[in-house]
Amino acid sequence: MRLEFELNGRRTVVNIPPGRRLLDLLREDLGLPGTKEGCGEGECGACTVLVNGQPTLACLALAAHVQGTAVCTVEGLAQAGELHPLQNAFIEHGAVQCGFCTPGLLMASYALLQKNPNPTRHEVREYLAGNLCRCTGYDQVIDAVLSAAKGQRCP
């Protein structure tokens, strides 16, 4: 199919099978390997991206699902060479260890702050329930999201 969508603000047109996963499309066809594949079954959240602002699992979404939408991946967070405040907060709070779950956590956190710029600790924890981390633990991540919420406006 001829797939037309907006990717990190840029109009993108590709010719691909409609059953191609968004994950493979991003990583292999469009050279954006920031989005990770952990489980491939919707359980871990490592592949979280935004589709029309909604958190979406790129391992379950097919090309046919994203026709005409706006997709935002972790590569779209930094603007003009400046890390996004959420990214800086993750670094400051040591919320990254092996880093594999980080892009998914960043995108889920970003989606949360778009909807709810002043979340409580409990709300952050609930919202990140679909994102697994197997090394750092979640406290630093939650601290990072809370501090980014305080000091920033999402662009």
Partner: protein, 284 residues
């Protein structure tokens, strides 16, 4: 794991267009949160999927005086952020436990119903509200009660060429208390080991009427008729329903599987009824 790249996927923009493609051997695709996982695991597969997310009738959510109609392709997240979530707390309570935010943004109510899992959280409020399923096919439409539409695990009364157009929800009279809880092995993204939802009408400290629905303790979601009757006239407070746990487990028909034994599921269902009494008594 197999790739799905050999599949053709149609994206009809009209209900008629979708029904024609389905009659021609297509299979519905909504959010894909069940279907994509299932297709990637299986050897055999349909050649053609029909994506339902562009059809206006399936994307509509309307609230009338005494009822609501939810299009089959409306996502759980969309229902949760609609005014209906405040009007029907039981719907909000159950849908907000489905997966994480991304699964709720992708997954649809129609997909949850069509999947007909005995553990489906969306089915519990629909059984409690005596929902009707509105089906559309080549020769027209029909409406049937959800409880006769769902036949068993993964088995539904969907004829060839038909799709679920919407779910019709009559509002319960008055303002019942509502309870939903599922027990699973992990808090987020859990598939229930057992779940219980209820609508309870109370007058002067006693239950006047109750509807109860149980998940994961039988091949389909279950309304335990004996327990619903036995609840009438009872009080709600901590421990007040302990004697009914036995009656409840007699009405279940659980299976042993990977996640839990039948005996454990029975026991959990009974405990949930006891928990309901305590939780609702604190809510009044």
């Amino acid at each position: 794991m197999r790739t799905l790249e050999g599949l053709s996927i149609e994206r009809p923009a009209t209900l008629v267009g979708a029904v024609e493609l389905l009659a021609d051997g297509g299979q519905p695709l909504a959010g894909g949160t069940d279907l994509v996982v299932r297709l990637r695991q299986s050897e055999s597969r349909p050649r053609r999927l029909v994506y339902l997310g562009r059809i206006p009738e399936l994307r509509a959510l309307s609230v009338e005086e005494g009822s609501a109609e939810i299009g089959a392709a409306v996502s759980h997240a969309e229902i949760l952020s609609s005014p209906l979530a405040a009007r029907l707390p039981i719907l909000r309570q159950a849908l907000s436990t489905i997966g994480g935010p991304a699964i709720r943004a992708m997954g649809t109510l129609g997909g949850n119903v069509a999947n007909a899992s005995p553990a489906a959280d969306g089915l519990i409020p629909l059984y409690l509200l005596d929902a009707q399923v509105r089906l559309a096919g080549l020769t027209g439409e029909r409406e049937i009660p959800l409880s006769s539409f769902v036949r068993g695990p993964g088995a539904i009364d969907l004829r060839s060429g038909e799709l679920i157009r919407s779910l019709m929800l009559p509002f319960p009279a008055g303002t019942p208390l509502s309870y939903f809880r599922k027990v699973g092995r992990r808090r987020a993204l859990v598939i229930a080991v057992a779940s219980l939802g209820a609508l309870v009408w109370e007058t002067q400290g006693k239950i006047a009427q109750a509807r109860v629905a149980l998940g994961s303790v039988a091949p389909t979601v279950l309304r335990p008729a004996h327990v619903e009757r036995a609840l009438v006239g009872r009080e709600l407070h901590a421990g007040s329903l302990e004697d009914l746990a036995e009656l409840l487990s007699e009405e279940t028909r659980p299976i042993d599987d990977l996640r839990a034994t039948a005996a454990y599921r029975r026991q959990v269902a009974g405990s949930l009824l006891v928990d309901m009494a305590e939780t609702l008594s604190n809510q009044e």
